[in-house]
C-alpha cells in the first residue's frame, strides 16, 4: 500500500454562520464556508482543482450536488464528487482527498458541507424502510435510543454518565462565542429535560443547526509554503457496519468503529495515550460512550468516574469536544470537529486553547440510522501539528 502518512495537510478550515438561521439556503452556506476555508488556507481559488461535497440529507435526492457547488464557486475541478457517509463524511472526505491527490487526479481539494433544515422547493422526505416505518420507528433518534438502551444494559452504565457528557460539553461551549447552545447546564437541568425518545432526554440530543463547513486539503510541501501553521494528516481510517438488526451482533461482539480506530492509529503509528485531545462525533450522548470505547480512550466501566473527575475536560488527561461538540457547538456534520482540531493544533482557540496540543483525534459517524438494517459508517483522522 502507498504510504500516505504525513504527506498531506489540512491547509484551511472554515465554517459559515450557523445556528437557527431562517431564510437562508443550503447553497449559500456551502459557498460561505468554502470561501472562508480557502481564504484561511491562503491559496488562490484557481488552485482548487478537487471538490468533494457531503450530500445534505434534508435535500433529498439532488443530482450533481458537488458539481453544482463547484459551478457556483466558479471552479472547473478535475476531480469532483458528492459523498454520502452522513456525519462520517468530514473525516472520510479528507481521506478521499489524500488518495485523489496521490493518484494525480488533483492537487488541492475543497471538502464542503452545509444544510438548511427547512429548505425551499424541496419536498420533505420521509426516510426509512417499510420494515420499520409502519411501527412508528422514524428517524435517527429511535436507533440512538436503542443504542443507549443496549449500552446501559450490557455495561451497567448509569443515567448520570450521559448527563455528565452533556454538562461537560456545554461548559466547553461557554468558552466558544459562536456556539449555538451556550446557556449553562447542570446535571439537574439534564435530568429535568423531557423525554424525546426514551431513554433519550432532550439534552441527550444535539440541536438542529443551519450552516456549513469546509476543509482544504493539499500536499505537505504546498501547505508549508502557505501562511498558516501546518496541520498534517498522519492517520485516517474508516469502517462500515449494520447495527442492531442482522447481521450486526451485540454491542459486545461487534463494537462498530473499532476497525476504523485500528486503521487510523496504525497508519499514524501512535497509541491512544499519545493523543493531546479528541473531537468525538456526538449528535447524541450515547455516541460519546461508543467512540470513547471503540477508540480505546476509556473502558466502559471507567467512563462515569472519568467524566466526574474531569478526565475529558480542560486540564484533564484527554480534553474532548473542546468547542462543545455537536451537542452544544451545533450539528455541522463533523466539519466543526475538524475545524476545532485544526485550530487547537495551530493554537488559535483563544480562551479554550489547550496548552501544547500536538496530536488530535477526530471521529465521524453517520449514514442511514433510519433504515432496516440501520447502516452506518465510522471514520477517523489523526491530525498532528507540524514540527
Amino acid at each position: 500500500m502507498v504510504e500516505l502518512r504525513g504527506k498531506y495537510a489540512i491547509a484551511g478550515v472554515g465554517l459559515s454562520r450557523f445556528g437557527k438561521v431562517p431564510g437562508t439556503s443550503t447553497m449559500g452556506f456551502t459557498l460561505e464556508a468554502s470561501k472562508r476555508a480557502v481564504e484561511d488556507a491562503g491559496v488562490p481559488m484557481s488552485e482548487v482543482d478537487g471538490v468533494l461535497v457531503l450530500m445534505p440529507a434534508v435535500m433529498g435526492e439532488q443530482h450533481g450536488w458537488a458539481a453544482r457547488v463547484a459551478a457556483y464557486l466558479g471552479l472547473e475541478p478535475s476531480f469532483c464528487t458528492t459523498l454520502d457517509m452522513g456525519g462520517a463524511t468530514a473525516c472520510g472526505a479528507v481521506q478521499v482527498a489524500m488518495a485523489a491527490i496521490e493518484a494525480g487526479y488533483c492537487s488541492t481539494v475543497l471538502c464542503a458541507f452545509a444544510t438548511q433544515n427547512w429548505p425551499q422547493g424541496v419536498p420533505l422526505q420521509l426516510f426509512g424502510s417499510e420494515l420499520q416505518l409502519a411501527y412508528g420507528d422514524v428517524g435517527a433518534m429511535c436507533l440512538m435510543g436503542h443504542i443507549k438502551r443496549r449500552q446501559q444494559y450490557e455495561y451497567g452504565l448509569p443515567d448520570e454518565l450521559y448527563g455528565r457528557i452533556a454538562v461537560t460539553w456545554r461548559s466547553h461551549a461557554q468558552r466558544h462565542p459562536e456556539a449555538q447552545m451556550r446557556k449553562p447546564m447542570t446535571l439537574e437541568d439534564y435530568f429535568r429535560s423531557r423525554w424525546v425518545v426514551e431513554p433519550l432526554r432532550l439534552f441527550d440530543c444535539c440541536p438542529n443547526t443551519d450552516g456549513g463547513g469546509a476543509i482544504v486539503v493539499t500536499s505537505l510541501e504546498r501547505a508549508r509554503d502557505l501562511r498558516r501553521p501546518v496541520v498534517r494528516v498522519i492517520g485516517a481510517g474508516q469502517s462500515h457496519s449494520a447495527e442492531m438488526i442482522e447481521p450486526a451482533r451485540t454491542a459486545r461482539e461487534q463494537w462498530g468503529g473499532t476497525a476504523a480506530a485500528r486503521r487510523a492509529y496504525s497508519m499514524a503509528g501512535i497509541v491512544p495515550n499519545d493523543l493531546s485531545c479528541a473531537q468525538i462525533y456526538d449528535a447524541f450522548t450515547p455516541r460519546v460512550v461508543h467512540d470513547l470505547v471503540a477508540y480505546q480512550l476509556a473502558a466502559p466501566e471507567e467512563l462515569n468516574g472519568a467524566f466526574a473527575n474531569g478526565t475529558f475536560t480542560f486540564g484533564g488527561r484527554l480534553p474532548c469536544n473542546t468547542a462543545g461538540g455537536l451537542l452544544s457547538e451545533g450539528h455541522l456534520s463533523g466539519f466543526g470537529h475538524v475545524r476545532e482540531a485544526v485550530r487547537q493544533l495551530r493554537g488559535e482557540c483563544g480562551e479554550r486553547q489547550l496548552p501544547d496540543a500536538k496530536l488530535c483525534l477526530v471521529t465521524g459517524y453517520g449514514g442511514a440510522p433510519h433504515e432496516a438494517p440501520p447502516t452506518v459508517s465510522y471514520s477517523a483522522l489523526v491530525l498532528a501539528r507540524d514540527v
Binding site: 420494515l131 411501527y135 412508528g136 433518534m141 438502551r149 425518545v197 426514551e198 442492531m244 438494517p373
Partner: protein, 136 residues
C-alpha cells in the same frame, strides 16, 4: 379534517412474501438453501454465502426483547396521536432481529430480554403487522 395516514408496507419482490405470510398469521423469513442461514431483512441473496436460492421458512414466532424505546416526540404526524408509544427490536429464537412493537403490556411492564411471542395486527384488509406480546 385532513388526516395523514400511517406509512404501511406495500411490499416488493423481496418483501411481499413476508407481508403475505403475516396476513395469513405466519411469521416467515428466508432460509438459505445453501448454508441454512435465516436472513432478515428480506433480500435476493444470502449475506453469508451469496446463494440466491432460499425458501420462506415458518418460524416459531417466539423471541425476546432485544431493545425498546418510547417515542414521546413524534417524528411523523401520523403517529402524533399515539404518543407515548413503544418501538421495539425483538430477537427471534431462530436468530434474526426485527423492528416491531410490543402489545398487550403497559410501557412500565417492558423489560429487556423479556420473552415474547408474535401476534398479527390487521391494520387494513390487505396488511397485517407482526407485533409481539409477553409470553406468560
Amino acid at each position: 379534517m385532513f388526516t395523514i395516514e400511517k406509512p404501511l408496507p406495500r411490499g416488493t419482490e423481496d418483501t411481499a412474501p413476508f407481508w403475505e405470510a403475516a396476513l395469513r398469521g405466519e411469521l416467515r423469513m428466508q432460509r438459505c438453501s445453501s448454508c441454512g442461514h435465516i436472513r432478515f431483512p428480506p433480500a435476493t441473496l444470502c449475506p453469508r454465502c451469496w446463494s440466491e436460492t432460499y425458501e420462506w421458512s415458518l418460524l416459531s414466532g417466539k423471541g425476546k426483547v432485544f431493545s425498546w424505546v418510547v417515542v414521546y416526540q413524534s417524528q411523523h404526524p401520523a403517529f402524533n396521536a399515539d404518543t407515548p408509544y413503544n418501538v421495539a427490536i425483538v430477537e427471534l429464537e431462530e436468530g434474526p432481529r426485527l423492528h416491531t412493537q410490543l402489545v398487550d403490556c403497559s410501557l412500565e411492564e417492558i423489560r429487556l430480554e423479556m420473552p415474547v411471542e408474535v401476534v398479527f395486527e390487521k391494520v387494513r384488509d390487505d396488511v397485517a403487522l407482526p407485533k409481539f406480546r409477553p409470553r406468560r
